[in-house]
């Protein structure tokens, strides 16, 4: 413990030079700015900035990368909350209640809880990274295909069962996403499925298209349709002062719970930050005394997922630094950046280049503080976006959405898909189907299928592998409870009241 602390202190002394603070600030600013854009994720940002850092010494370069990484993770939440346009999958959960809050004029409070929550979670998770990285990495290795499949089933069932007004509507949305996920090359055999001979479809439908289409374009079409029906512009009270005492009280527990959920799940390579953010959202809804406020602008629904998102982002660094395993696209680029400087992350990195590793970890702390300093005063400023007249706001959103969709692969097909998905998204809103299960189905569906088939192939076709491996068995039972639990409880309580009424003195 003491040696870790002294190593960390040495790391801080390396990172806390004026020029390095400058690089950290630059990284955080660039990362936030680019994270705001839908479709341009942290991976592309780091890749584009890689050549810029050729001339820097490795310490400064990593400090900048750390800033970009956390900054991009945070930047996505701003557009989710204000424009209902999640830039990447990790901020979808934030959009559900954050956007409702913004529409009620409490955008500044939502942005503040996101900023403080990200800071709390980022700092706690970086601490966990500091002290438990090797231990966590060895636990993560116990997860094989069967366990990952079970984990994804948990994500599917919780989201479809708890979001939206009925299970079957949630499931329909989920299966829609799963069906879209079938398109493209089957990664286990290399065979193309449902691509209809169109080469752009060989890699499947990009999830960013679905997210921007369903949320941003769908929202625009829906609002246009609504507006046509009720042309009165509703003037709302706006409050740019940040969070009230009551909101602080409601936020701090979700921050901590989000961190506890996000960090360990971030260590596992399972589709990035999607699962942790949604599990955090569901947990908050479950634990709340007033679950009906969720989806109507509950601050807990912003605080929890935002914390989980940032904690998971720190968790991703655990396998990268200790095992050399990149478990997200951004981590893969960071790995390339390490190699650029002749470093091979892996079991030997902590002993071969401790100076660099500890400087990187120290710079993550610094980056977190900088993010807070940068974003807290800006929350009120950004929230004023809601005052822009609606015609101009939605015109701008569509221009931004089309730009993000086109630059993704420079493909007109993506742009066309974006508008089709937008129409579908509007229809789903009108007929009251939840949007999120569809996105989850598209992101996790192909992964779940692959893990299932890998597990079955390894066990030579024996399906019992999902129940004989303890972690996977526990997860599957949990999924079953989520799916059937509420119904069984209702039956039991109905049966109890029936049983009790004729014989009140049976006990």
């Amino acid at each position: 413990m003491t040696e870790i602390l002294s190593a960390l202190a040495a790391g801080f002394s390396g990172a806390l030079s004026l020029s390095n603070l400058g690089w950290a600030f630059l990284g955080v600013t660039l990362g936030t700015a680019v994270g705001v854009l839908p479709g341009i994720g942290p991976a592309l940002t780091v890749a584009v900035l890689l050549p810029v850092t050729f001339s820097l010494d490795p310490t400064s370069a990593f400090i900048m990368f750390g800033g970009i990484y956390y900054g991009a993770m945070y930047g996505g939440s701003t557009t989710s909350i204000l424009l209902n346009t999640p830039g990447e999958t990790g901020s979808i959960a934030t959009a559900i209640d954050g956007y409702m809050m913004a529409r009620q004029g409490r955008g500044a409070a939502a942005l503040t809880t996101a900023a403080v929550g990200s800071f709390v979670a980022g700092t706690l998770a970086t601490m966990a990274l500091t002290f438990f990285a090797p231990l966590l990495a060895s636990v993560a290795l116990r997860f094989g295909p069967a366990e990952y499949f079970a984990l994804m089933i948990v994500a599917f069932t919780t989201v479809s069962a708890l979001l939206g007004q009925s299970l079957v509507r949630g499931l329909l949305s989920l299966f829609l996403g799963l069906a879209l996920g079938l398109v493209g090359i089957d990664p286990l055999t290399g065979e193309a499925r449902f691509a209809f001979g169109i080469p752009q479809l060989l890699d499947g439908i990009d999830v960013v298209i679905l997210v921007i289409g369903l949320f941003a374009v769908g929202e625009t079409v829906y609002q246009a349709w609504q507006y046509g029906r009720e042309p009165v512009e509703v003037v709302r009270l706006h409050d740019f002062t940040g969070m009230s005492r009551e909101e602080w009280k409601r936020s701090w527990k979700p921050w901590l719970r989000g961190t506890a959920i996000g960090f360990p799940l971030g260590v596992l390579p399972c589709g990035g930050t999607v699962i942790p953010t949604f599990l955090s959202y569901m947990t908050e809804k479950r634990l709340s005394d007033t679950p009906e406020r969720f989806g109507q602008g509950a601050i807990e629904g912003v605080a929890g997922p935002e914390a989980a998102n940032n904690a998971a982002a720190a968790g991703v660094l655990v396998p990268l630094l200790t095992l050399g395993l990149p478990s997200s696209a951004t981590a893969a680029i960071m790995l390339a950046a390490f190699q650029q400087y002749g470093l091979q992350p892996g079991p030997l990195l902590f002993s071969s280049r401790p100076d660099l590793v500890w400087t990187l970890i120290a710079s993550l702390y610094i980056g977190n503080v900088m993010l807070l300093v940068l974003n807290l005063p800006l929350a009120g400023v950004w929230a004023r976006v809601m005052l822009v007249p609606r015609p101009l706001l939605f015109g701008g959103i569509l221009v931004l959405a089309s730009l993000g969709a086109y630059t993704l692969n420079r493909s007109m097909l993506d742009l066309a898909l974006l508008y089709v998905v937008g129409g579908v998204g509007c229809a789903m809103r009108v007929y009251d189907f939840p949007l999120v299960p569809a996105v989850l189905g598209l992101v996790l569906g192909p992964l779940a299928e692959q893990h299932f088939r890998r597990a079955v192939a390894i066990s030579e076709g024996d399906l019992s592998v999902f129940l004989t491996r303890p972690i996977s068995a526990v997860l599957l039972v949990a999924a079953l409870l989520v799916l059937l639990g509420p119904r069984v409880m209702r039956r039991v309580s109905v049966a109890n009241s029936n049983a009790q009424s004729p014989m009140p003195n049976a006990q």
């Binding site: 680019v34 991976a43 592309l44 890749a47 050549p51 997860f143 295909p145 079957v168 509507r169 329909l172 299966f175 829609l176 069906a179 079938l182 090359i185 990664p187 055999t189 065979e191 499925r193 060989l202 890699d203 079409v221 246009a224 349709w225 029906r229 396998p319 095992l323 050399g324 395993l325 990149p326 478990s327 696209a329 680029i333 390339a336 190699q339 650029q340 002749g342 079991p347 990195l349 015609p391 939605f394 015109g395 701008g396 569509l398 730009l403 086109y406 692969n409 420079r410 007109m412 742009l415 508008y419 937008g422 009251d432 299928e449 692959q450 088939r453 890998r454 079955v456 030579e460 076709g461």
Partner: protein, 443 residues
Amino acid sequence: MLALLLVASPAAAQPAYEHLRLVAPAAPGGGWDQTARAMQQVLQRAGIARTISVENIPGAAGLIGLARFIGAEHGSGDAAMVSGLIMLGAIVTQRSAVTLGDVTPIARLTGEYEVLTVPVSSPFRTLDDFIRAFKARPESISWGGGSAGGSDQILAGLIADRVGVDPRRVNYIAFSGGGESLSAILGGQVSVGINGLAEFAAQIEAGAVRVLGISSAERLPGLDVSTLREQGIDIEFENWRAVVAPPGLTPADRRRLERAIEAMVRSEPWRETLERYRWIDRYLAGAAFARFIETEEARVQDILAKLGTGRTGERTLASAGPYPLIVLGGLVFCAVAVVFRRARRSRTPDRGTRNPGLAPVQRSGWRSVALVAAGAGLDLVLAESAGFVIASAVLFWFVARAFDHRRPVRDALFAVAVSTGAYLLFGRILDLPLPAGVLSGWL
């Protein structure tokens, strides 16, 4: 050769290219992207090109990039693309319409050897142990490696073929990328790992995995690992990467690129790059490289046919067969359930309170939606012909009109300002590829 060098050396003083465009037909982070970015760095530093841009066109193991490169760059003297063995595998498995025969081969650059690894706790101490178990019950051995039809699976098939096991019986578990398969090997989820050396080098040095064999012809200096060949499996195999040029090049343009690449591989920075990434120098140019592609294509075709990738016709749970049926079945089932419930609810009197969105639709609502749809349609038509700025301004104006039709002039001004601003910010400053269209001379 001497003449080439003599011509190449003055090129270092005067850059051969003002601007060279490199295409990496993959997402950032992978081997092709690394190769392209390393080339960018070295060519610039050696003064062979003044500026170089790298463009990522990811998708379908490089096939999207290949198709676009052939289509869009025909005859361009200042463009080149990174390619390699994995693209050859994808061409074969996807029965691609475009092949490496459609581009101008320039040179093979690097090679990466493959290693067979097992976790330290594995019962297999040597390659012999492993091969014996594999021959006894082929399906019980799971081979973890990279994507299907890629170099890892090709080598697994070659090994099976060489030891007398039908390659179809190789229980190959494809993971996406070296990272995922590495964690499966470290965690003991698969029996054996088959991967590129570079991805595993750190684990091998740390003693976290045991190496059963390496696919090089000779033992590598500084790595105490015996080759497959010296253990009785006569295979030499590498995952090679190369650079190709567009079709329809003039002989002068072709020579210029060949010389630039030759000067690059002879430079000191390139040697340092090879060392850093643990790539092996496999420079091979001209007609010899063209012949090499032909023999490799035949070898890949042969082994992939034996492996039976692509359509297998098998319908086990591990194959692709049943999964789409499950998903589509679930979709239909849920849709029927929703329709059924609605039909039942519509017969009960208290309907309508739960779904506020289902109130009678007024015509004015549809007018707004039609305006948005018109804007989207015009955007699709105009984006590549008239350019981003015009298309986006039209889109903005239509959408704004959908919300408020009273101030067309204000909306038009904002439409022009927003789309021009977005183009300048993202297209010019951040250098994202946006179509400039008819205004390209103005902006």
